[in-house]
Symmetry: C2
Subunit: 280 residues, 2 copies
């Protein structure tokens, strides 16, 4: 595939790593906010865009969701789940026993708390705006220091990895979605994401929606209620289910669901993926 | 109420603000990680503990959830939704036009991006480990600077607020839960939180659970699926619904639900609250 792929920079963050894994020979175009990435997709400045949606360091979820609800043309065309593998890296030559400071975004610092307490109880944690920023701050530090960042950042900035996979919980994934002007053709093993809302909170409407899926033996893979900004007690429901929106049974279920809801926005159908990890 | 209330420090963060609002004449005991707060509740070192569970700066959600599933004695006894009101504050005497740096946790920096771009396009954002840390870093800065933090931090550390409510989205709440050795007695306007799991992903089991509530006219206020660490494709479902676990209709619904699930853990029943904002 050719074309341009928008992503959230700087280079050496988990978002950039996800863009590099998805790649497909596209020209990667870096933006500095999620809003700029989605705008670039909407305006056609890029052909596709990759953005984090869950368990992200960027607090991106409501932004991407709002964009998908609002956008007249952009769909989810693929997804990618990236295993977060925090690495401890230093300036080449720094010995681990010299480390006095540990730079990272506050979230990876929290994710590695047990490791740091055991191995570097006396090192001072120092916050950075991103994992990439942590590496450049560490390299510029006069005090012997380390940074917590993805392995890719070590490559890009010339740091040396002293420990890998130092996060306390080994099951830490960030889910990214790939946005484009249309969704993915049917593959036979697909997933569909929709957002729904109801005009009132009558008990049972969501139950009826789930019945529209369950009676057709359509498996749910995710359900989430999200309070909307506009008014307390009002929700948007996000549902992912198995199947492609062009499968006759899904067409049928969506027709049924549309009769129950005031808003039923199909975010797209795309291949149901297994989780990806960065290339070794 | 007397006793000890555990919370996540340092002083001057949104967590400390939530503890101060909940207060009830309890002695507040500060801990430095969510794990330490929940452990203090479990061991009885504190009588209650307040922890963020949604939309938090701390990435606390899986930790608190895992604790509630595991704990043999701790329940949710109350909840509090705190409106996040980011304030821009300076060292007394610093004039806004002098500001060259803006300190905060990366998340509030992101939440205030539009404001900062408009008013301080040339100021450099600098990351801190917490909003409280941002204020102390700002006060120690030789370069004229500002910090983004809750109003309370200005009071505690002697900073001067130059702008209030600078977040781009005015509907930004963090939900806190109060943990204790038992839940709350029935008030007549209550909410119950449960976590469920199934032995398999058969389509329809979750639907039957929702039917157990819907047919009894029990309104859902939240539903969420969360992948569990142990195995891909396995989920824990978090459901909040109206009513107290001692209400006969809820007792009945829970009995029904227990027959459908392999795990049905009641996190507690507590007053269904309106959102709280910090005292003006």
């Amino acid at each position: 595939m050719t074309g341009r792929l928008g992503f959230l920079g700087p280079a050496g963050t988990y978002s950039e790593e996800a863009a590099a894994i998805y790649d497909r020979g596209m020209q990667r175009v870096m933006y500095s906010t999620i809003g700029q990435v989605t705008e670039a997709a909407e305006s056609g400045q890029v052909d596709q865009a990759i953005v984090p949606v869950e368990n992200s360091l960027h607090g991106a979820i409501p932004e991407v969701l709002d964009f998908l609800i609002r956008s007249p043309r952009i769909k989810i065309t693929n997804e990618l789940a990236l295993r977060i593998r925090n690495c401890l890296m230093v300036k080449p030559g720094t010995r681990p026993q010299q480390i006095k400071r540990i730079y990272s975004h506050p979230q990876p610092l929290g994710q590695c708390r047990a490791y740091l307490t055991t191995h570097y109880p006396d090192a001072e944690p120092v916050a950075a705006l991103s994992t990439a920023g942590a590496v450049t701050d560490m390299l510029a530090s006069a005090i012997p220091a380390a940074a917590i960042a993805p392995a890719r950042a070590a490559e890009i900035y010339g740091a040396e990895i002293v420990a890998e996979d130092i996060q306390d919980n080994q099951n830490n994934f960030t889910r990214f979605v790939i946005l484009g002007p249309g969704d993915h053709p049917r593959t036979g093993k697909d997933k569909t994401s929709v957002a729904l809302s109801f005009s009132n909170d009558r008990p049972g409407l969501l139950y009826e929606v789930m019945g529209a899926l369950a009676t057709r033996k359509i498996n749910l893979s995710k359900i989430e209620s999200r309070p909307t900004g506009e008014k307390l007690g009002r929700y948007v429901f996000l549902i992912d289910f198995e199947g492609h929106r062009t499968d006759p049974i899904v067409v049928d279920a969506l027709e049924h669901i549309r009769r129950l809801t005031t808003m039923c926005k199909v975010f797209g159908s795309y291949p149901a993926k297994v989780l990806s990890t960065p290339p070794e």
